[in-house]
Subunit: 340 residues, 2 copies
DNA sequence: TTGTACGCGTTATCAG
DNA sequence: CTGATAACGCGTACAA
């Protein structure tokens, strides 16, 4: 088989003895054209198996109908769920979604962003890497009039919209839930306090305590990361202290899991002796023997909303730099681990 | 701020009083150019913040440096891991990765594929949806000289390369493992037998039995799907039968999980009374109270290999229709659930 | 080594 | 309603 020749509007214009311009008009639903020619064009286009060349169109119109997404790792459930939301919302509007990973590193993030900018993308969705402090690369994108939408992890940059969850509320409802179960000494596993999200979850924790008139005990607050080991260590530390907790609010499901494992190992029952609530609603939480209560960040919805914000932005007035800040409400998924 | 003007090779050619062609040559490392002009061009390109317009380049060269990936759902761990592998392998070669979802439906799959073809993609990676029987859309892609690479779920189509795991071996090593643990009556949870992958896992199961001289008992084979409920039902059915199993090989981790839950519920101990092995090594398996042994399909590697096959194909001789079939070896991850 | 001129496939503008 | 023509930004024969 010979190399397949691509059929262009020019080919079909020749066959029909009309101009390429007319063919283009017919194909694009331009109103200034007789119904007869339009139908004819449509029919023969079909017959000749014509496919529009989006490249040429994009070059001409200066719009690629493609967006880029940058996440730390695409195989992390939270991120892939967000991407799913973005894709589902945008595919119906004719957009393509390019993905790339920063591997949780600012340098990669910059490279990926520049590569995306290079390819004349119509917009960028991103969750910044943990060590991204400087936002110059993002400001550059904005200068070039490429809309940027942050989700989950954001920087404060004028002109950039964002979709995040209310981390304060996440901390609050978790703690409130535990307090309502009758817990009095609620430990808090808190992640890297340099990050705003953990600060806010922590604030929510304290606010709930205060609201219930329960004293805040600094000893019950332990710094953890998102690893199982970190939860194990935290339990070891706490159970050597002077105030033994009857509940744990962990800002990471993994730390919560480590805690549960260690508690069981030393003969403490969940939830009878200690209630546990995690954060993120990782898929594994519901499959545990005593399923882990957790705060769901509604990533799928987050992706959809982010996509909607983007669409509003590109369809709205070009002159105005729109900046929209959406804050989603997290949901507490109460399961066995806090079911007293 | 005015709308930012894009700088083209023409702009820099004017500034330097040379032709755009020369600029193009300098930028593309064409050897027929004096070092002096090249350096000059490079420098001013940098200064003027020149960005190559990939669209125009793609239109000219007929190559977009973009590939498409179609999976049923992007947020399923297996698929996102494969995509991660593809992205990581291809990003260093200057390719962009567009993702789209078939939602496990053949009709969507066809639409997504056509959309991708429309956008002049350089290649397509896909895992067909469960109800895809007809391969016309894929044959069309091949006719248009767009390479297609299947991973995991494939159709038999001439000219299409594929990367899959050895499902027979997966079934074999699981069963073999259980037999070596001393199990005699190994139940088999088998998925939709219309799909080749389940047929092969089943064949592996039978082969291992035969190899160990253990009789095959049809009663021990139960049809399941990939849901927890399905595993629960399977246990209920089996434990009412005349041969009570002392092990279960499930071709789905979810069915295995359901089985474990139900067995525990009726007072049967894992692994003392019954050993269990699942399939896919879903993330949750290692977090269970008694972690589930499972067959790992090495999805990340699968993605990387698929990408390599693609690169070979596009860099190889264009005339020859290369068709490469890669079969990866699955690994049994032995955990508590089969640790006797 | 460099410049000229054309074409990739489309759409927008301007006549007619 | 339709046709001719230019332009989007780049790369490349061909000529100089």
């Amino acid at each position: 088989m010979r190399k397949r020749e691509k059929v262009t509007i020019y080919d079909i214009s020749k066959k029909l003895n009309i101009s390429a311009a007319t063919v283009s008009r017919a194909l694009n639903g331009n109103p200034n054209i007789s119904e007869k020619t339009r139908d004819l064009v449509m029919k023969t286009a079909e017959e000749m198996n014509y496919k529009q060349n989006r490249l040429a169109q994009a070059l001409k119109k200066g719009k690629t109908n493609t967006v880029g997404v940058i996440v730390p790792y695409i195989d992390r459930n939270f991120f892939s769920s967000v991407i799913r939301g973005i894709e589902e919302e945008l595919t119906g509007h004719g957009y393509y979604v390019i993905i790339s990973q920063s591997h949780e590193d600012a340098k990669n993030e910059v490279n990926q962003l520049n590569a995306l900018l290079n390819t004349q993308i119509d917009g960028i969705f991103m969750s910044v890497s943990k060590n991204t402090r400087n936002g110059d690369h993002i400001r550059k994108a904005i200068e070039e009039k490429t809309p940027v939408i942050f989700f989950d992890r954001k920087l404060d940059i004028p002109g950039v919209s964002s979709v995040v969850i209310d981390d304060f509320k996440g901390g609050y409802i978790s703690t409130d839930h535990l307090l309502k179960k009758g817990c009095k000494h609620i430990a808090c596993f808190i992640g890297n306090m340099e990050l705003e999200i953990y600060q806010n979850r922590f604030k929510g924790y304290k606010a709930a305590l205060e609201h219930h008139g329960i004293p805040y005990i600094e000893e019950l607050v332990v710094q953890t990361n998102s690893k199982i080991e970190s939860g194990i260590e935290a339990v070891n530390k706490l159970w050597q202290g002077s105030v033994i907790p009857d509940a744990i609010f962990a800002t990471s499901d993994y730390a919560a899991l480590g805690a549960i494992q260690q508690l069981k190992a030393i003969g403490i029952r969940i939830p009878e002796d200690v209630c546990v609530v995690g954060f993120s609603n990782e898929p594994f939480t519901k499959y545990l023997d005593s399923p882990l209560s957790s705060v769901d960040q509604t990533p799928h919805l987050m992706g959809k909303i982010a996509a909607q914000v983007f669409l509003e932005q590109v369809n709205g007035s070009k002159e105005l730099t729109i900046e929209k800040k959406v804050v989603l409400s997290p949901e507490l998924i109460a399961r066995e681990s806090s079911n007293r």
